[in-house]
Symmetry: C2
DNA sequence: AAATTACGTCAATAGTACTGACATAATTTC
DNA sequence: GAAATTATGTCAGTACTATTGACGTAATTT
């Protein structure tokens, strides 16, 4: 089986290019960029026995303290069962606490503890450093443009999730969407 | 267990912000953007019984026809065993063929078939559309800037992988790195 | 009182990844 | 030519993240 099987098609020896107007350059850059962007926190998480799923939960609980389980599922686009294990571990290790919802007592509002806040910051630090360096490389004044591009990459109907974020205003000023 | 366990820390009710100079806005945008960017091909892949791993292999074999297994492992940053199953499936379904290396007969050069090329294009099409739309939203002239930013997000020592790509020159002209 | 909602949990399964070990063929080195 | 190294393939075992389906409980709504 080291060679081609009898019914196999002929090998194409030319590289795929921008034929059909496909933007392979940016597709590939996006893959590499995200691969390395997530590699920073992955190393820290390994020390805790956590994975990427824990990071995402921790991030959003810190960003929107008091969100409910249902809201978290909606943001992460995963199922209840997938969240269960990860959330349980974060609660057992005292990174997150849940409080009974004030209006609806069935709901669990999720909050970070001091420990959970500290870990979220530690995980975000190398990512933020990478972003700052990349912004400087491409001209520091270009931040709003990068933000607009990334936001435009998100499905329009899901962009509402972004703007839920309470207070990330430090010169954003993109009130035009 | 619906409430806090006795030893649990106190809930923090304020949202994490740009304290410590952490760029949460872009961290989060990058997560959302990549989530939706990969959701397009994921739907197509499901029809074939393939996953994201198949997509990545297919992409790079089309981008660098004739690359060897070792080179592919290096680009994907996964292990031989992880690649094995995915690559075998792509070969069995006649999307990829392997030829004996001309210089070194131990090597397997990987090439796409017409079928594999077609699938790679089909997977890239919605992603490219998304990128084009996002570029238009942020001003069509900003493409080189977005490219520079994404490239700067990649680990410097790994940037060599990007430039291996044979011919994606359609007005790139960023020969300054 | 009945239906619905929010959440939790159990069981079974899948996809992607890992480490470690071992085998084979081809090339390189001594 | 024999020995070491290299490129690849494969086997066994494990882990993490995710899935679907089913069921249970408490609280709210109808």
């Amino acid at each position: 089986m080291t060679h081609r099987s009898p019914a196999a098609g002929k090998p194409i020896k030319t590289a795929i290019t921008d034929e059909d107007g496909i933007d392979f350059a940016i597709i590939e850059l996006f893959f590499f960029a995200y691969r390395d962007f997530t590699s920073d926190p992955d190393q820290i998480l390994a020390d805790y026995g956590f994975g990427r799923a824990h990071h995402r939960v921790l991030h959003f609980v810190n960003r929107r303290p008091g969100l409910t389980v249902a809201e978290l599922l909606d943001v992460l686009k995963i199922t209840k069962q997938s969240l269960a294990r990860v959330l349980k571990q974060l609660i057992d290790t005292d990174h997150i606490v849940q409080l009974q919802g004030p209006r609806d007592r069935r709901q669990r509002e999720l909050y970070p503890t001091a420990k959970g806040r500290a870990l979220a910051l530690a995980l975000a630090r190398p990512q933020s450093r990478r972003i700052r360096a990349a912004l400087e490389d491409s001209g520091a004044s270009e931040r709003p443009l990068i933000e607009r591009f990334l936001e435009a990459m998100v499905n329009p109907e899901l962009r509402a999730q972004i703007d839920i974020v309470p207070a990330n205003m430090s010169g954003k000023s993109h009130g035009d969407h």
